[in-house]
Amino acid sequence: MNNIVFGKYIPLDTPIHRLDPRAKILAMLVMLVAIFIPAGWTGYVVLALAISFVVKVSKIKFKVIIRAFRPLIFMMCFLLVVNILSVKQGQLLVDIGFVKIYADAIFNTLYIIIRLFLMIMLTTILTMMTKPLDLTLGIEYLLGPFKRIGVPAHEIAMMISIALRFIPTIIEETIRIMNSQKSRGVDFEEGKLKEKITAVVSLVVPLFSVSLQRADELANAMEARGYVPDAQRTRYRRLHYVRRDYILLVGAILILLAMIALALFL
């Protein structure tokens, strides 16, 4: 269950928490673009410093972020192997007969790993420091201008917020059904392939039918309280940009520009 906790909101009160979710989402997008600009090692040092500064302000322990990275270790190793087998450029580092490792293979992998690591750091900061509800509200506001070209911004936000609201409920439900089936002799950890499939079916089918029932009841409750998907409605929570939000956005854009400059002139 630990993987599910990854990126989970931490209710603290830091400057990052207080930022407008729209500013945070936009800044993150700008930074993601910056990460993908090939600005060499200097660029990565700049980015790493900038992101580390945010982490420092956010009071999250680095350990927690490293933990979020852990599920990806397997992928990293896989990448490394693929790179070693396919990249045949740069200085030859190791040569043991059939295995030849070139410097570029290592560098390429490192580049990807660093990019991934920075990206995960960014998204983790965003989700840990922003209430899920604020996040969806931010998305809704940001998608607002696209309503004219048919993007159902409000519906998307409503779907995300309901999904987020029901995650804990569904986890609870999953545990309960798993326990019921364990009592009926199902072994979720071991067994032959056929047994494993039955085990999964015995969990997924009830979970699916309960979720459908929930969805039906939830739809009734929403309708009874006057919700009509495409109708006009007011919003209780509204967002306002303040000074710190502009500072964040300007900062992010400056870093992006710096990266572009580095890529062009170095």
């Binding site: 326990n179 019921s180 089936q181 364990k182 009592s183 002799g185 039918s209």
Partner: protein, 282 residues
Amino acid sequence: MAIKFEKLSYIYSPDMPYATKAISDIDLEISEGKITAIIGKTGSGKSTLIQHLNALLLPSSGTLTIADFTITSDKKPKGLKALRRKVGLVFQFSEYQLFEETILKDVAFGPKNFGFSEEEAIARAKEALGLVGLDESYYERSPLDISGGQKRRAAIAGILAIDPDIIVLDEPTAGLDPRGTKEMIALFSALNKKLHKTIILVTHDNEIVYESADEVVLLEDGKVVCKQDAHSFFEDRALLKSHAIIEPKIVKLKDLLMDKGLKLDNIYSIQDLAVALGGNHE
């Protein structure tokens, strides 16, 4: 199949700052062949306690002995399957465990998992469905197409088909209508009296406890307050009052009448009361 908890504690998320002791230092023996009700407020540790009976949770400390099975904080308990065959757990809203295409197949699922042959599993399923009062006409129906009360009974049959010696039922009457509730009480009473199953009943409904249980275990804040004979438990007014336990209605009426000066003894049901009072008149 005696059940014995010794100094058993369970802590949720022990490594986290918000670790909570769900149950602590449980010393408890549950008698064989009886109906034992476990009562207590929501959050008193009832469901944590019963999950140990199937090693779904392993104790943080202490031991649980069920016949020749011993469960400790040891990570990999041996003989899990054999234990789960002996102790059947019927969870709250158990109807949500149904998943096969037909009711018969669903009920036979348990026995098959425990290594019975297809024919034997089907035979056991048929027997179990008979016990819960679902006749042949239900065998080939989808478990999703029957009423809530019938689903509940099909789910219980799924456990009965495994033929466990001990049957644990968590809120088996929740959401049932009065008739469904009566049938459920009749079912587990029959399992106890006729098939000599040990029944452990977790419920909030003290009327059901008073009507059907032999013994009562009261949990509060993860600790056992007492374990007592059901009738004497509900007659201990001071105890009920200090733990805010709702008296069964018949007990309340009897207490009120005795306070007014009527002499009443051995009143456990409306019928007992009618006989006692009627006797005075004749």
